[in-house]
Amino acid sequence: MHPARSIIIFTTLSGLGFGMLVFLGLGMPRVTGGTAFAFFAIAYLLAVGGLLASTLHLGHPERALKAFSQWRSSWLSREGCLAVATLLVMALYGAALVFAGTRIAPLGWLGAALSLGTVYATSMIYAQLKTVPRWNHWTTPALFIGYALTGGSLLCGQISLAVPFLVVLGAAQLAVWQMGDKRFAHSGTTMATATQLGGIGAVRAFEPPHTGTNYLMTEMIHIVARRHVGPLRIIAFALMTILPWLLLFVLPFHHLLAALAVLSHLAGVLVSRWLFFAEAEHVVGLYYGKR
């Protein structure tokens, strides 16, 4: 799939933002007044910034409000509705913390649950697609939620939680890469089922419908991107798990090092999210003899 910049930024930043809101909703850390304002401001900048970035890839962003209407059937619509609900609930909860210094705990729990729901809905936009076997698996939402919780715990300074999260996330990401590599072959969709000509013999794409390219090919067949997958996986893994772990737990604690750990994690997540799209192969490529 084409790794569109707006979508990578959207899923990464909003994932981090809603991950932060999970912890803020649970009262981790217990902040009020100006400190609470700073935490909420960062979380909202990430969450809302990501959501705004997602509208950049729309053909008609001026009609975006219509996307809240089909929550009964569409994960993309559900994602929008849940995001707005989360932001409203957490705004009330945050305002009480900042201006009244009171923590309305049940409202925070509701906000945390809605935040997780939003990240889940985002991941289901991809995980629901049977046409992209690499994504069509329960590990996609699991990994998205893992990313949100890890990033959120780092940004909220929950160091004791960030250790196990970093370890589990790292292991999960390695497993997902490993399993994902085989999923297209396991999906059972081949050029033979796509054309139903396999009964005659071995099928080969002989001539494409046109000499140039088309929307389908630029959007869903992204072969160039996959050439450097090996090194990029190592870079992503090192930046998002190993380096933050070294900076936070091996070296003596310092706020500057903690900030560096967060930035390193963010950079790693961006690379791994780029790979999430670039490595994903759409079954329509079979009609073009490419994947």
């Binding site: 089909q70 054309t195 005659i200 099928v203 389908l216």
Partner: protein, 247 residues
């Protein structure tokens, strides 16, 4: 609403005969022409006369080579357009309700004034039937020429999709695949019509008729001709025999 109807009154669709299609692309041109001049936003092209032309099409013809275990390879032209699936994944993913399947005839359409151009429906379609218009930035797809098939202003023979009407080899057929008595349903039954990518669970309405088995003996007169020896005569014959004796 982007939930799918439980049942549609008719299942209008196409039957495509892979045995007959000659790969002339006339249906592509007819489709592009009709859908540029009629229903919805025109099917645009970009850089049409430049170095990198690109445009939206609702119907594209692939060509595949199939190599049987024995015998020569076969070339099969393969028209592909929206299959108007019963379980259309492109409809349910739409966040705005722009994408819908009609209860009366099963045609899958896009309401272009509601489309935000997010492209998710094109991702959800395994067949590559939806393309974003490069100029209007809304999703385009086959309408089964909904503005021809019910159009009383057209002569009766023209009330079928442009691709079907124009096909010079009659490789395309249009009708109600939900009615077992219809011509298209009988054709599908007689020729063993198949679903594309059945494992994707989309239940496509459009059916593909597989190529008929090729005749084993291509030249019907060959058996009646005097057999010609494959052994060479004269000097070459002597050389062959001598070499065989030596070897």
């Amino acid at each position: 609403m982007t939930t799918l109807p439980n049942q549609t009154e008719k299942k209008l669709g196409l039957v495509i005969d892979l045995d007959i299609c000659v790969g002339c692309h006339a249906c592509v041109t007819a489709c592009k022409g009709w859908n540029t001049e009629n229903y919805g936003a025109p099917l645009a092209d970009k850089d049409a006369y430049g170095a990198e032309p690109v445009g939206s099409f609702l119907n594209r013809i692939h060509s595949f080579e199939v190599q049987p275990e024995t015998g020569p390879a076969q070339l099969i032209h393969f028209p592909k357009s929206c299959l108007h699936c019963e379980d259309a994944p492109c409809v349910t993913v739409c966040p705005t309700g722009a994408s819908y399947k009609r209860t009366e005839d099963g045609i899958v359409l896009v309401n272009e004034t509601d489309c935000i151009g997010c492209g998710l429906c094109a991702w959800a379609c395994p067949y590559g039937a939806r393309e974003m218009d490069p100029v209007e930035k809304v999703m385009k797809k086959c309408t089964l020429c909904v503005d021809r098939i019910y159009n009383d202003n057209l002569p009766e023979e023209d009330r079928q999709p442009a691709c079907v009407r124009t096909c010079p080899s009659n490789a395309r057929h249009f009708g109600d695949l939900g009615d077992p008595g219809s011509d298209v349903s009988k054709l599908v039954a007689a020729r063993g019509g198949v679903d594309l990518m059945p494992e994707q669970g989309t239940k496509p309405v459009n059916q593909y008729l597989p190529p008929r088995p090729k005749d084993e003996e291509i030249d019907v007169l060959a058996p009646f001709l005097a057999p010609v020896t494959e052994d060479p005569k004269g000097f070459l014959g002597w050389l062959g025999k001598t070499l065989e004796r030596l070897g």
